[in-house]
Amino acid sequence: MTATNSFSTAPASPWRARLERPWVRWGLVALVVVLAIVVPLLLPEFANQTLARIGVFSVAVLGLNVVMGYAGQISLGQIFFVGLGAYVTAYGYNAGWNIVIVFVLACLIPAVVGMVVALAAARLGGLAIAMVTIALPIIGVPLAKRFSEVTGGSQGTSARFSAAPEWSGLYDDQWQLYLVILIGGATFMLTRNLVRGKYGRAFAIVKGNESVAASMGVSPYRYKVLAFTIASLIGGVSGFLYMVVIQYTSPETLNFGHSIELLASMVIGGAGSIIGSLIGGAWYVLVPQVTNIIDPNLTTVLQGAILLIVLFFLPNGFVSLPRLLRRIGRRDAPQRSAAEVPQHIEE
C-alpha cells in the first residue's frame, strides 16, 4: 500500500492521467461541495441520519488509519478515544459550558490521554502496543460505570445540543448532517494534507523500517507518539460528532467489540487511504443494517462471512478494487499494442 501511495506520480493509466488535470480535479471538488450542500436538503430523514452516522464513524476510522494504516502501529483502542470524546462533550454541555469550548476539550482531552498512553506504549514493540491499546476499552467500560456522577453509570448520559436553530429553517437531521459534513470534512482535509506531506513520509518510513528511519534522522519513537496522539485527537472529534448525531452515550459505546469492528472497517476500506476511511465508515454503519434486513437471526454469520469474502478477493480493501478490475480487464484484452502494455505492468 505504501508503495502505491508514495510513488504514484507516474501516470499509471489514462484514467489517472485524466484525473490529474487541474480543471478535472477542481471540477470534482466543486461537484463534491455542491453535493454536500444539496444532498441533505433532498434526502429523507432516515437517509440523512444514516449518512451522518457514516460521517461519524468515517472520522473514527480515519484516526485509526493515521496510526495503523500510515504509521503501522496496531491500535485496538480507537473506540476508547471516540467514547472519551463523547463523554467529554456530554459532560461539558450538561455543565453549561460554551459549545465551542466543549468541542475543543473533546479534541484535546483524548489527545492528551492518547499521548500519555503512547509515551509509554511506543517504547514497546509491535504487538505490545496492540495489547496496551486493547486494554483501553476493556478498562474503560467498568471505569465509565464506576464514575457514575460524571458518566451517568450504566444508564449513560445524553446531551441534546444539535437541534436545528430557528433561523436556519432546517430539520434537525439536516442540521446534524451539515455539522458532520463541515467538521468531518475539515478533519478529512487536514488529515489528507498531513499524510501527504513531511509527516506522512516520516510515518511511512517508520512503518517500513524503524532502523532505516532512525538512520535518516526520523525518530521512530517521536513519530509513533505523534501518530498515536493525532489518532486520539481525531477519535475525540469523532466522539463529538457522535454526540451531535446520536446525542447519547453509555459504557456500551466503549465496548471492545466496536473497537474490533472499527479495525475491520479500516482494513476493509483500505489501510493507508483517505478514501478507504470513508468506505470503512460506510461499511461500519451499513453492513449491520443490511444484514439485519436480510435476516436478523443471521446478522453475525453474514457479517463474518461478508468480511471474509471481501478480504479473500480484495486483501487490500475496497480501495484496491479499481486496480483489480484493471488487471482483469487487461487479462481479457491481451492483444493490445506492444507499446502500451509495458507501461501497465510496471505499477
Binding site: 482494513v267 463474518g304 478480504l311
Partner: protein, 293 residues
C-alpha cells in the same frame, strides 16, 4: 489464611483455562506468525460440538475426546483453506481475517444453538475437599491437573518426537525447512489443528462454570492475550506462568483491594502487563528478537 488459599487455588484454576487458550495462541503464532483472535470462538464451537455429542447419548469423556479430534481437523482445514491465503500478506489484513473468523463462528454458534445459556455437564464431581482449613472444589483441582498434564504432553511432543522437531523447524524458518524436505504446509495445518484441540479442552473445562453461550470465551481470550504478551510470545512456559499469575492476582485483588472489586478486576492483568513491559519489553520470559538491518 484459608480464604487466601482458596482464592489461590481458584485463581490457579481460572489461570489454567487462560493458559490453555494462551498456549494455543502461541502455537498458532509460532507456526504462522499471526495472532488468532478467533481462538476463543473456535474453543466455544468445540465445546458446542462436545455438548451435541453428549446430548446424543455418548458418555461425557467420549464426547469431549470426539470434540477434541473434530476440532483438530477443523483447525487444520481453516488454516489450509482460509488463513493460508493471507499468511505471506499484510499482517493487518491477517489479523482482520481472524476477527472475521471470530464473528463468523460466533454467528454460527448463535444460529444453531441461540444465545441462550446451555448447561454443560462437568467432567469432575461438584464435591469439595478440605485442605489446611480451606474449602477447595474438586473441579478447580481437576482443571489444574488436566492442564498441567496436557502441557507436559505438548512439551514431550515438541521436544521428543520427530513431528515436534518438524513443527519447530517450520516455525523457525519455513524456507529452510522446505529445503530439508519438511512438508511445510502439512505442518502448518498440524500446528493449527493442535491449537484448536487445545482450545477445545479449555472450552469444555470452562463451560460447566460459565454455562455455554456463543460469547463464552470472549473475556477469557482477552486474559489469554494478556498472558501471551506478559509471558513473551516465544516462551510457552512463560505464557503458562503468566496466565497463572494473572488468574491468582486478579482473584486476590478483587477480594483484598476494595477499590478494584469484581467489576474492575479485569484491569489487573493489563496494569501488570503495562508495568512489566516498561521494564522488559520482550515479556517476562521472552527472548529479545534481534533484527538485522
Amino acid at each position: 489464611m484459608s480464604t487466601f488459599l482458596q482464592l489461590m487455588i481458584d485463581g490457579l484454576s481460572t489461570g489454567s483455562i487462560y493458559a490453555a487458550l494462551a498456549l494455543s495462541i502461541v502455537l498458532v503464532h509460532q507456526a504462522t506468525g499471526l495472532i488468532n483472535f478467533a481462538q476463543g470462538g473456535m474453543a466455544v464451537l468445540s465445546a458446542y460440538i462436545a455438548w451435541v455429542i453428549y446430548g446424543l447419548g455418548a458418555p461425557l469423556i467420549v464426547a469431549i475426546l470426539a470434540a477434541v479430534i473434530v476440532s483438530f481437523f477443523l483447525g487444520a482445514l481453516i488454516e489450509r483453506y482460509l488463513v493460508r491465503r493471507f499468511e505471506r500478506g499484510d499482517p493487518d489484513t491477517a489479523v482482520v481475517v481472524t476477527i472475521g473468523l471470530l464473528t463468523l463462528i460466533t454467528g454460527i454458534c448463535a444460529w444453531f444453538w441461540t444465545y441462550n445459556n446451555q448447561l454443560f455437564p462437568s467432567l469432575f464431581p461438584l464435591d469439595t475437599v478440605q485442605i489446611a482449613g480451606a474449602v477447595i472444589s474438586v473441579r478447580s483441582l481437576g482443571t489444574i491437573v488436566v492442564i498441567v498434564a496436557i502441557m507436559v504432553l505438548l512439551q514431550a511432543l515438541f521436544v521428543g518426537t520427530k513431528l515436534g522437531l518438524a513443527l519447530r523447524a517450520v516455525a523457525i524458518d519455513p524456507s529452510s525447512a522446505a529445503l530439508s524436505g519438511v512438508p511445510v504446509g502439512r505442518n502448518l495445518m498440524i500446528g493449527w489443528g493442535l491449537a484448536a484441540s487445545l482450545g477445545a479442552i479449555a472450552g469444555v473445562l470452562v463451560a460447566p462454570q460459565l454455562t455455554l453461550t456463543p460469547g463464552m470465551m470472549d473475556s477469557a481470550l482477552v486474559y489469554a492475550l494478556a498472558a501471551v504478551i506478559l509471558g513473551g510470545l516465544t516462551s510457552p512456559i512463560g505464557v503458562v506462568v503468566a496466565a497463572w499469575l494473572i488468574g491468582i492476582l486478579e482473584n486476590l485483588a478483587a477480594v483484598y483491594v476494595p477499590f478494584i472489586g469484581h467489576d474492575l478486576k479485569i484491569a489487573v492483568p493489563f496494569v501488570l502487563v503495562f508495568v512489566v513491559l516498561l521494564v522488559r519489553p520482550q515479556g517476562l520470559f521472552g527472548r529479545k528478537s534481534v533484527v538485522r538491518v
